[in-house]
Symmetry: C2
Subunit: 160 residues, 2 copies
Amino acid sequence: MALPIEPPLHRCTVRGDWVDYNGHLRDAFYLLIFSEATDALMDHIGLDAAERERSQASIFTLECHLNFLREVKGGAEVQVSTQLIGHDAKRLHIHQSLHVAGEPEPACVCEQMLMHVDMRGPKSAPMAPEVLARVQAIAAAQAGLPRPVHLGRVMRLPGA
Amino acid sequence: MALPIEPPLHRCTVRGDWVDYNGHLRDAFYLLIFSEATDALMDHIGLDAAERERSQASIFTLECHLNFLREVKGGAEVQVSTQLIGHDAKRLHIHQSLHVAGEPEPACVCEQMLMHVDMRGPKSAPMAPEVLARVQAIAAAQAGLPRPVHLGRVMRLPGA
């Protein structure tokens, strides 16, 4: 079987109970959508539920940084694309971009550092060779993509 | 009435449906707890639901950065403390620290940039003088606090 190329788009519909008193998608539920997109990435590199159960391997989020750029309303159809920024034997550094379907500009972007873990600790652990090979295939396929503009951003007040 | 001093601790119990396939609090639900702590901060500075309705003012999250430091299990009692890092007429830059009750080290920290908005746009807008006065009272009360260690952190792979 050929190795997978780029991670597939993750798609979902914004649920009514994800909308807050401001009448738009609450900050935490943007991250829930990104988190589900990370689950889709795990499936894509061979760490689906059956393999997690078999191998006792999983992925933990170490860190993430979100930039909320546009409001998203309940009922909106959204999609998340994932770009692999870097990796080593244990870690994936990714950037995710959430778009309302048909909109050219992202509504939110998310940078994440993920850690491959052996759940028997849990403790950090190198990826299995077949998982790492899939990660390397994504890295090769995405090598020409531009660097996302919000990557490594430090938040500060204007003038601070 | 005296102006409020430091924001109160926000407390909650980790719900079973916030736990993921790794058997711990899912990343997005840490942010939901921080988001509810931000709601408590809004109440504290006078932007509670009744005042939001009256004045058509609210707060939007522009950006946030989370560091996941320790696992949190379902049923845990957690509390969030909030430190005001900076502010101007329209923005609050805050740092939140989530602790499992009784644990000295945080399980997660969150840096946020918040924007005061006029919901009739919605567009950014200066805080009302009485709200700004409460923010200034918090800043004065917290002036001696040390700078949180994760503030302004840029995520990168080791050696990158």
